[in-house]
């Protein structure tokens, strides 16, 4: 599975869960690995980290715990990404 395909699945999963559940990085990795048994943890983690590096997804924080989310338009504007 190509990294781009993994990233598309990560993004789709985060989009689906938006507003329903705060997902930790590990929840996302587990979900992708459960759907694709051939993938190992490091491959998924690397794909996810690449997305964070370019602002496609981001870390958020609330109530003492961190989660990964799709950034808002405001955030992307603030970072000069759109």
């Amino acid at each position: 599975m190509e990294q781009k395909e993994i990233q598309d699945e990560i993004f789709a999963y985060l989009e689906k869960m938006k507003g329903k559940k705060k997902l930790k990085e590990k929840d996302v990795i587990k979900k992708i690995m459960a759907d694709h048994a051939e993938l190992d943890k490091n491959t998924v983690k690397t794909a996810l980290r690449e997305m964070i590096n370019v602002g496609k997804i981001m870390y958020a924080y609330g109530g003492g715990a961190s989660s990964v989310e799709i950034p808002s338009e405001e955030y992307l504007k603030e970072k000069g990404l759109i």
Partner: protein, 394 residues
């Protein structure tokens, strides 16, 4: 500036002690954020209410840690603190700075923030208090271009911290600064990317005096200790006595394990009973020295009383060598501990709480450490014991 009357805050300037109010007032002369911070704080004191909102989505691109979002709930009344984010800088091991380095940090901070600092917060980081969302990226760019990285926050590894260790302290049994730096470099990813169930803190102390309070605040505490007998210089003992020290009441009677005696001439120590608390060595530095074989005790599970009550650390490895070539063993052990915790903890559950729920046995099995008498923290409270199948095979 100084547009606010602060009668209640002024009370905190009275007395012989340093006052944070005085320092904020100094900053408020030239900085609007600090001025509004004074106004909001005075209002909080008057109304007995807090006006800070905490959390949200702030940070620098690619990082999830190091910036803590803070907003005023009264932005119209105090526009200078509408955004008042905290920015954590990863401190040097042992908190050593040159004055040029401090000036560099403060000059940049004056440009982008309130000018207020917290040197150091209980996190260990150098904490900068109060900047805006727009200033975060340029602030980060300036600091990182000069070698200052962000520290940890959120559900991440927090910036490891340590005492001054061998750099200034003759009691250091281990190279606390070396271990701290090694851990910091090794766990960069875990520090900047919050992927854990909750925070994870590492603190390193050179001896049981524990100047960074590792035993009370860190999920992983590495505390220097020794094997063998305390070395006694009886001639120096005599000098302490001749100098007026009441050895019986100040040293012997204060020994927590009652393992020392003094006959008016010489000190004797039953080293088998010694718990290596450092009291006698700290009081009679010239007469008593630690044993020659140095290393560390690794403890796990302490925390301050957020979410549920406070916990004190629990011995995991009674003695581990900590020379440079042993640092990798420490990081490997740390990785195994984190993996077990990360696999088993609920959100916002610290390592110590998980051990209380699951027991020490699964942790020992997961990290490959044998059970040892030193790991017994307290007598068992319940009479039931559940044997594993493997116990019957032994």
């Amino acid at each position: 500036m100084a547009k606010y009357d602060t009668p209640m805050l002024d009370e905190l300037e009275k007395g012989p002690w340093p006052s944070f109010v005085t320092e904020i007032k100094k900053a408020a002369k030239t900085n609007k954020m600090s001025d509004d911070e004074l106004g909001q704080l005075e209002k909080s004191f008057q109304t007995k209410r807090g006006y800070w909102k905490h959390g949200g989505i702030v940070g620098v691109l690619g990082y999830g840690s190091g910036v803590i979002g803070r907003y005023s709930s009264l932005p119209e009344e105090f526009p200078g603190v509408a955004h008042f984010h905290t920015y954590r800088i990863n401190q040097p091991s042992g908190f050593f700075y040159t004055s040029a380095a401090l000036k560099e940090i403060c000059d940049i901070w004056d440009k982008y923030g309130s000018g207020l600092t917290n040197m150091h917060g209980s996190t260990g980081d150098l904490v900068l208090l109060g900047t805006t969302t727009e200033a975060l990226e340029p602030l980060f760019a300036e600091y990182s271009s000069r070698g200052w990285d962000l520290g940890g926050s959120g559900s991440a590894m927090r910036t490891p911290s340590c005492c001054v260790g061998m750099a200034r302290c003759e009691w250091a049994n281990i190279d606390a600064m070396g271990i701290c730096n090694h851990m910091t470099q090794h766990f960069q990813d875990e520090l900047h990317r919050p992927a854990f169930p909750y925070k994870f803190k590492i603190k390193v102390s050179g001896c049981a005096c524990d100047c960074v309070a590792a035993i009370a605040r860190a999920d992983l505490s590495i505390i220097g200790t020794w094997k063998g007998n305390i070395r006694i210089d009886q001639a120096e003992v005599k000098k302490y006595a001749d100098g007026g020290m009441d050895i019986q009441s100040e040293i012997i009677d204060m020994c927590p394990t009652d393992c020392m005696s003094y006959d008016g001439g010489e000190i004797k120590i039953n080293d088998v009973q010694c718990s290596r608390c450092m009291h006698c060595i700290a009081k009679m530095t010239k007469a008593l020295r630690q044993g020659e074989e140095k290393g560390a005790t690794v403890l796990v599970g302490s925390k301050a009383p957020i979410v549920v009550g406070s916990l004190i650390s629990w011995v995991l490895v009674p003695f581990i060598k900590c020379d440079d070539e042993d640092f990798e063993k420490l990081t490997e052990l740390t990785e195994n501990i984190i993996e077990w915790w990360d696999d088993n903890a609920k959100p916002r559950e610290r390592l110590g709480e998980l051990i209380e729920v699951k027991g020490m046995r699964p942790l020992l099995e997961a990290v490959g450490v044998d059970p040892q008498p030193q790991q017994v923290r307290e007598p068992r409270k319940d009479p039931f014991f559940f044997w594993a199948d493997s116990d019957f095979e032994k």
